[in-house]
Amino acid sequence: MSGNFAPGDAVKVISTHPPGHRRTPYYIRGKTGEIERVCGEFANPEELAYGFDGLPKKTLYRVRFKQKHVWADYAGLETDTVDVDIYEHWLLPA
C-alpha cells in the first residue's frame, strides 16, 4: 500500500475520540497542516498495543502545523511549527 499524500499536501487530522491506545495527541485532532515528508510504512501501533499484528502496515507521515493555528494565543513567530508523526488513517485531504 502506498501513501495517499505527498510532501506539500494540505491535510486535516480527523477529529474523533475513540478509546484505546491512540498515537495521535488530542491537541492536534481537527487541525490542518502540511505533509512534511512520508516516513514509510509501519505496523499500526494502535493494533500492536493489543497484541494484534498491526497489519496491513500503515503509511506514516510527518505533518507540519503552524503553532499559531494550533494554539489560539501562541506566543511566538508565524513561522514556528510543531511537527507531528501521524498515521494515514488519521488524515484527510484539506
Partner: protein, 220 residues
C-alpha cells in the same frame, strides 16, 4: 508503550517535593510498590514461568539499555560537523548513516533535524517518553516529566528560556512531537571559535541536552 515504562516511571514525581525532609539516603525500594510496579512484577514472573524470556535474557537486555548511558551522540554530531556528506546522509536516512558508524537504531525511524542560523529544533514526546535511546541512552527525568511534555509544545520559547536557552525573536522554533515510530536527533549549530577543531574536541562540547534541542553547545 510497554517498553517506555520502567518500574519507577509513574506520572508523579518521586524526588522533587520531599527530599529535603530526608536525613538519610533513601533506597529505591523504600516506597510502597505502586499498582504499575506490582503489575510489572507479575507480568515478569509470568513471562519467565511460561518460558518466553529467561532471567539471563532479561538481565542482558537491561544491561544493554543501561550501558547506553554513555552515548554515541556526541561523536556522531562531531562527525556530522566535520563531514558534510555524512551530515547529508544523516538528514536523509538517519538509520543508514548511524549504521555506518556502528550504531543500530533499531526499528524506529531515526529522524535527524538540523539547527541552523534561522531554526531551533526541540524534541518532545507528548504522549509518553519516546526518546532516541539507541543513540542517547535513557531519557532524562525532565524529558519524562508531565511539565515538559505538556508545556514545550505550547510555549516552547518559554520552556527553552527556563533551560537557559533564549531563542532570538527572529529565529523559528520547530517542536518535534515524537509519538510512535519516529525518534529524533538534533544536530546543534556548530559554535563559532571551533574552526579547525578535531572531532574529539568537538564531541566534548556536544552534550545530551543539545541533541534534544533544549540547549546549544558553547565554547567556554
Amino acid at each position: 508503550m510497554a517498553d517506555e515504562r520502567g518500574t519507577h516511571d509513574h506520572d508523579h514525581d518521586h524526588n522533587h517535593d520531599h527530599d529535603h525532609d530526608l536525613t538519610f539516603q533513601p533506597n529505591i525500594e523504600d516506597g510502597e510498590p505502586g499498582r504499575y510496579e506490582l503489575m510489572t512484577y507479575a507480568i515478569r514472573e509470568l513471562v519467565m514461568e511460561k518460558g518466553h524470556l529467561t532471567p539471563e535474557e532479561l538481565r542482558a537486555a537491561q544491561e544493554k539499555v543501561e550501558s547506553l548511558q554513555k552515548s554515541d551522540g556526541a561523536k556522531i554530531i562531531a562527525k556530522a560537523w566535520t563531514d558534510p556528506e555524512f551530515k547529508q546522509r544523516l538528514l536523509e536516512d538517519g538509520n543508514a548513516a548511524l549504521a555506518e558508524v556502528g550504531v543500530d537504531a533499531g526499528a524506529a525511524k531515526m529522524t535527524v533535524v538540523e539547527n541552523t542560523d534561522d531554526v531551533q529544533n526541540v524534541v518532545v514526546c507528548t504522549l509518553c517518553s519516546c526518546y532516541p535511546r539507541a543513540v542517547l541512552g535513557m531519557p532524562p527525568d525532565w524529558y519524562r516529566s508531565k511539565s515538559y511534555r505538556s508545556r514545550v509544545v505550547i510555549e516552547p520559547r518559554k520552556v527553552l528560556s527556563e533551560f537557559g536557552t533564549d531563542v532570538p525573536d527572529d529565529m523559528t522554533v520547530r517542536v518535534h512531537d515524537s509519538l510512535a515510530d519516529l525518534r529524533y536527533l538534533v544536530i546543534p549549530r556548530r559554535p563559532e571559535g571551533t574552526e579547525g577543531w578535531s572531532e574529539e574536541q568537538l564531541a566534548a562540547i556536544v552534550t545530551r541536552d543539545t541533541m534534544v534541542g533544549v540547549a546549544n553547545p558553547s565554547v567556554s
